[in-house]
C-alpha cells in the first residue's frame, strides 16, 4: 500500500499508465486475489457436486447403499426397474406333431401329422428378481438376476393362422386336435431346451446386453449373475396334464420322463408321436443293434440326474413295467462300454452340451448320469 502510495499515478491516461496501475494493484493485493480465486473455485466445485457432475468420495460410498433408494437411485437402476424382461434368444419354429390312434374296425392305426408354428422368447424375467438384486462393489456393478427361462406364456406361443395339416387319415375331433396343439407347445419347448444349447445362448446374449448397458452408464466393470445352476434348470419340458390322450399311456406319467424308441438304427413307425429331435440324433450315438421293439427309456432320477433303461417287452409298445427291464448293461461288457459312450453323447446333445460324469449302479442295469459332480 505504501509502495502504491509512493508511486501513485493520479490520472492513468495512457495504456502504459494503466499497465503500471494493474501491476501495482496485483503486487499489493496478490494474497487477497489468491484468496478470492480459491473461494471462487470452492464455490464452483460445490455447484458441480450439487448438480451431480462430480461425485464426492462420500457420495460414491453412499451410492452402494442407496442404489435401491427410490429417491437416490442412479439412472441405470431406474432403467432396469422399468424393464420387465430381457430376451436373449427368440425361437421361431415350425414343428410337426404326429398322433396315432387305433380304431375298432381297422387293423392299422390312423394318423394325423400337423405342422404348428410357434415363437418362444428365452431370457430373463426381471419381475422375479429378489430384493437385493443390485450392488456396487468398488468399481463393479453386480446384478443378481433370476435364471434363464422361457418367457412366452403357453397359449400365446402358437400361431394358429400358420397351422397346417400335412397328412391325415381317419377323423379327429376338436378335443383331439386341441390336445395335439398342446403337445405342439411341448415339442417347441423341448426343442428349445434340448437343441443347440438355446438356454446357454440366451444367457450369453442377456449377459452381453446387460454388460453393454452397465458400461454405457459409466460404470467401469459389470458382473451379471443368474440364480440357479444348470442342474436346477428344467432339462426336459414336461407335458401338461391332459395333453396326451390316455390310449398312449407311455407318455402318461408325471416324472419328467422321456421315451426314445429305437430299432436297429431306424425309427419305429408307431413311435412317431414323440418329438423327432430326440430320435434323429440317436443313430449318431451308437452302432449297437438291439432286438426288435427295444425301447431306450430315459427318465429323471431323484437327485441323481437321468437314468437310461432298456426295455424289451417283446410285445406292443406300452408303458414298461419296472420288472420288464432287461439287464443288457451288465450282460455284455462291450455293450456296456458302448452304452456309456452313447449316454455321454446323448447327454451332451440333449442337456446343453455340458460335460457330465457317468456313474454305474448295479441294480436293474441302469446307467446313471451324475450331475452332482459337475
Amino acid at each position: 500500500m505504501r509502495r502504491m502510495q509512493e508511486n501513485k499515478i493520479d490520472h492513468p491516461n495512457t495504456w502504459k499508465d494503466r499497465y503500471e496501475t494493474l501491476k501495482l494493484f496485483i503486487a499489493d493485493h496478490f494474497l487477497a486475489l489468491i484468496k478470492v480465486a480459491i473461494v471462487l473455485m470452492c464455490f464452483l466445485m460445490f455447484l458441480a457436486i450439487l448438480t451431480g457432475n462430480i461425485k464426492s468420495p462420500s457420495s460414491r460410498k453412499d451410492a452402494s447403499s442407496s442404489l435401491l433408494d427410490p429417491h437416490k437411485a442412479p439412472p441405470i437402476v431406474k432403467k432396469l426397474q422399468g424393464m420387465t424382461q430381457i430376451n436373449g434368444l427368440i425361437e421361431d419354429r415350425e414343428v410337426v406333431v404326429s398322433q396315432f390312434k387305433m380304431l375298432n374296425n381297422t387293423p392299422k392305426p390312423v394318423s394325423i401329422h400337423m405342422q404348428v408354428t410357434g415363437t418362444l422368447a428365452i431370457g430373463v424375467n426381471l419381475q422375479k428378481r429378489t430384493r437385493k438384486w443390485i450392488e456396487l462393489v468398488a468399481d463393479t456393478l453386480i446384478l443378481h438376476l433370476p435364471g434363464i427361462e422361457i418367457l412366452t406364456p403357453d397359449p400365446e406361443c402358437l400361431d394358429r393362422e400358420k397351422e397346417k395339416t400335412l397328412i391325415q387319415s381317419g377323423s379327429w375331433n376338436g378335443n383331439e386336435l386341441s390336445a395335439i396343439r398342446q403337445r405342439g407347445v411341448c415339442v417347441l419347448k423341448r426343442q428349445s431346451i434340448a437343441e443347440d444349447s438355446c438356454f446357454v445362448i440366451a444367457e450369453r446374449e442377456v449377459r452381453k446386453q446387460l454388460l453393454s448397458l452397465i458400461k454405457s452408464y459409466g460404470y467401469k466393470y459389470g458382473k451379471v449373475l443368474f440364480s440357479g445352476t444348470l442342474q436346477e434348470r428344467p432339462l426336459i419340458a414336461h407335458y401338461p396334464e391332459g395333453a396326451i390322450p390316455n390310449d398312449y399311456n407311455f407318455y402318461d406319467n408325471s416324472a419328467g420322463e422321456h421315451m426314445i424308441f429305437y430299432k436297429n438304427g431306424t425309427i419305429l413307425s408307431y413311435s412317431d408321436q414323440i418329438p423327432y429331435e430326440h430320435i434323429y440324433n440317436l443313430a449318431e450315438f451308437t452302432t449297437l443293434s438291439f432286438p426288435a421293439n427295444t425301447n431306450l427309456h430315459l427318465l429323471k432320477a431323484e437327485g441323481k440326474g437321468y437314468i437310461l433303461k432298456i426295455n424289451n417287452p417283446n410285445a406292443n409298445i406300452k408303458m414298461p413295467e419296472t420288472q420288464q427291464y432287461i439287464n443288457y448293461v451288465h450282460s455284455d461288457k462291450e455293450m456296456h462300454k458302448q452304452l456309456k459312450k452313447m449316454m455321454q453323447s446323448l447327454s451332451q446333445k440333449l442337456f446343453y452340451n455340458i460335460p457330465c460324469n457317468i456313474i454305474e449302479t448295479d441294480t436293474n442295469g441302469e446307467v446313471v448320469i451324475d450331475y452332482s459332480k459337475l
Partner: protein, 194 residues
Amino acid sequence: MTRYTLLLLLLLPLLFSCREEAPSAEEIARHIAQHPVTYTETYIISRNILKEYKDKEGHSSKAVIPLKAKFTAQLNLQKTRQIVVRKEENMVWITLPAPEITLQFSKQSSSNAIYCSDVSRSSFFETGLDAYKDQGRAIILKAILAKNIPLKLQKDAAMTLATLMGEARFKQLDYTIEVKRYSEKDLLKLIVEK
C-alpha cells in the same frame, strides 16, 4: 473504483468460461461412441419343407425336411465412423449405422427328416438334400424379412440416444434421429452368410 473494475475484468473471463458452448457435430459423434451400447437380436428360425412322393401304384407319401438357421442382427453405437452426425445451427441430424446381420444355416441331414408314412428314405432323397438348399434358404429369408428386425434395433438405439442427448451440454440442441427403413433388397445385401 479502478480496483473494482480490474477485479471485474479478472472475473468476467472466469465467468464466461463456465458457460458451456454448444457441442460440434464431431463432439456429438464422440459422445455417442463413448457409450458402448450394442443392440443384439438373436433368432433361431426353423422351417419345414414338405416333400411329396408318389409310388408306382399312385399312393402318395410325404416327408418333412426341417431346416434351421441362426440369425443375429447387431447395431453397435460405438462405431463412430458409421454414425453420421449433421449439424446446422441448433439442429442436429443423427443417422444410425446399418445393423450387422449374420445368418448361419445348420447342416442338413436326411436323418432329420420326418416321414409321414412308411416309405424308405431312399425313395425320398434319391437326389440328396442339396436339392433343397436353395428352397430352404428362400423360406428362411422370407421369415427373417417379415420380422423387420433392423427397424426394431434402430428404435431401441434411438431411445438410448435420446437419453444421451438429454445430458446438460448436449441439451441445448434440437435432435432428429433418422431411422432407416430397409427395403427387402437392401436387407438382403446386409445379410452375411456364414
